[in-house]
Amino acid sequence: MDRRFPHPDLLAGIRVSGPILLGIIPFALVAGISAANAGMTVIEAVGMSVFVFAGASQLAAIDLIDSNAPFVVVVATAVIINVRMLMYSASIAPYFQAFSTRVRALLAYVLTDQAYAMSVAEYERTPDRNRLWYYTGIGFTLWIVWQLGTFAGAVIGAGVPEALGLEFALPLVFLALLVPAMKDRGTTTAAIVAGAVGLGAAVAGVPLSLDLPIAAVCGILAGVTVDAWRNI
């Protein structure tokens, strides 16, 4: 085992986080700003980022708290938005099997869309990458920047220039990972169907952010079906 510190794969993980931060920083600022606008204190805003650490669900919760929604609605909405991470947990779990329970709990705590997608893509591309250090490099870089960003947003409380559309960097990150993930007929079918269903669900207005899990499950089923068909 490589005993150098910092481990080169930790640095590699931190390095690949760079471009993602373009999308994360404005997102974190917005989370802090909207918490402040809803009347939450700086400590509450940062506390939410530390304990929840999931942007979309935080924004939804803040929005509902701001409109004085019932407690149960706020909690249920935020949790349902995070149900998609069940899929990430299942997908990345085989790579983490060798680690102790305590380490796995820590890795689970920093599991996000970005850390999941970047790590699994890299594990497949480069099998001798150190899984623990690489994932840690991404996961904790995002964690630190998310905390600092919400803190800054909550303190500033003012607007980020919206016309810049910096939040568009996030879908571009996902797109950069999606293209190589479509590596054969099955995975390409899964992507096309999931994208189409996601778009349809957005138009139909599926409540409680269930669009994503529904679209993903349809895509996965389509991929499985196409490959099963060919192998008959």
Partner: protein, 120 residues
């Protein structure tokens, strides 16, 4: 004690943060914990899992890029769609995340701000 614009008390806010945080952590830990307890991931499960990245990523990207408008033309003539097409080609040719973002955002800004910068 600071005043809230929401009528929620500080206690209620912290309670919501605590419950959401615990549930979210349980979701994240679920399979990472379970698969550590069993020796191998069942073949059938692994077979299904190989489609997860493509499906999830597409479900995140497409609705963020495309907004359905009344006509096909209005739907497709959009700065985000144009930027995503450029970014998609870059991703396909280079598989480089930074290049994809740089050229994608560059395209978006060129379309949004280019004409006024050129005095058009």
């Amino acid at each position: 004690m600071e005043e809230h614009m929401t009528t929620w008390s500080s206690t209620a806010i912290w309670a919501a943060i605590g419950v959401i945080g615990l549930c979210t952590f349980a979701i994240r830990l679920s399979f990472i914990y379970l698969f550590g307890r069993i020796d191998t991931v069942p073949d059938r499960v692994e077979h299904v899992l190989r489609y997860v990245p493509a499906a999830v990523l597409a479900a995140l990207v497409i609705p963020a890029v495309i907004t359905i408008q009344p006509t096909i033309e209005a739907t497709l003539v959009d700065d985000r769609v144009a930027a995503a097409i450029v970014a998609g080609v870059v991703a396909w040719r280079t598989e480089d995340v930074f290049a994809t973002i740089a050229l994608g955002m560059g395209t978006l800004w060129a379309i949004r701000f280019g004409p006024s910068l050129l005095g058009l």
